[in-house]
Amino acid sequence: MPVVEQNRSFVAMDTLVSTTFVGMSDPAAAFDVVRGWFAEVERACNRFDPASELNTLTTGRWLTPTPTLFHALALATTIASASQGAFDPSLGHQLAGRGFDRHYLTGNRSTPAGDGNWRDLELDRASSRLRLRRDIAFDLGAIAKGFALDLAAAELLEADLDGFALDAGGDLLLHGVNHDGLPWRVGVRDPRQPRQLLTTLRVSGQAVCSSAGYRRGSHLLDPRTRRPAQALGATVVAPVAAVADALSTAAAVLEPPDAIALLDANGVNGVVVAHDGTVESTTGFEVDP
């Protein structure tokens, strides 16, 4: 039986999203599923768009956001808490101060207001409502791409296909098999020498997300010290892309032993490269030499 593979790309969330579908009867429909979910998460979470749902949240009252925004914020604050602030979704201020203040399509500058942080967000999970006790400059950039990947995958998994690989600016989600009928073979870029690979993995049903200082200048900050991250980069493998995305950001700002402890505590695997070039990984991090 011939294996059909189709590759298509689009731009969303300040990044190029590339899709590969294997053995799919209707790849155009699958592509639209991915594009639609990125559009939806961007609509809800884009801090650069004054009209995004995130930017229209008001302070003080209980609000009923769309499920997309509610669950993005719920997961963001859960990971912020689990990482004791190493992942911080309320860094809009600091990032804007460092020049990350323009919408990637319109070029419009946005200056986030807000002196609160993620601890000032109250969530009522039973009623899916939330309340901002203070004005908060949210930045969901380190979780939104992963969340969109997860939502797209949830819908694609119900379609008739052998496998798919989604790549949102180097954050990957892989399911099923590649065109050889095998789990996906994933190269992890080496933050010490970005044109080379650190390692190679064999992955299916998992996301592989990397955070590194080389990505767009040194944009990672340690939220607790407000200084640039010390680690060169971290890569996390997890079944939920939003978690891999956010935890890779947290792991990249921590000292490697603390990063590995964080990944272990949350049941995910990964590898961290320290500034001195030392490489540490979780015990369950399996490479495919």
Binding site: F10, V11, G170, L172, V186, R189, S210, A238
Partner: protein
Amino acid sequence: MSPKIPDNVLAVGAAGVLAVYGIGYAMTNASWRLSNEIKLARRTEHAGDYRDGRYRAVGTSPFGDVWVDVTVRRRRIEAVEIPRVTTFYPESDIAALPAEAVARQSAGIDIVSGATGSTAAFFDAVTRALDQATRPPAKDGR
């Protein structure tokens, strides 16, 4: 240390995905155009001044190239498509790699984790395509 046991982040993440996806919060092509293509047209300074046609250009980055087809209709950007993307897998410095790494390179790699710079390549390509759309029709082959 906080005595509170943190939520299981994987469980919260999976539950969030199911909650959002489960209620069928799917979006349409039309909304994607609103969120991207219209903004892209608005972003360009010469919006409305383009010659009708279809323009292909390639943008480059150290890690990959992006081709775009920009369609201009009634002097406005109607669509931006990405017919092709290449990712340069790290083989250029192969001579400098240790033997183990060389062996790794030779095996097939489907996809690479870590940023590629291809978004910059995309905007580079769009800018080049729109340069074609603002120039008078070529006569000397350039």
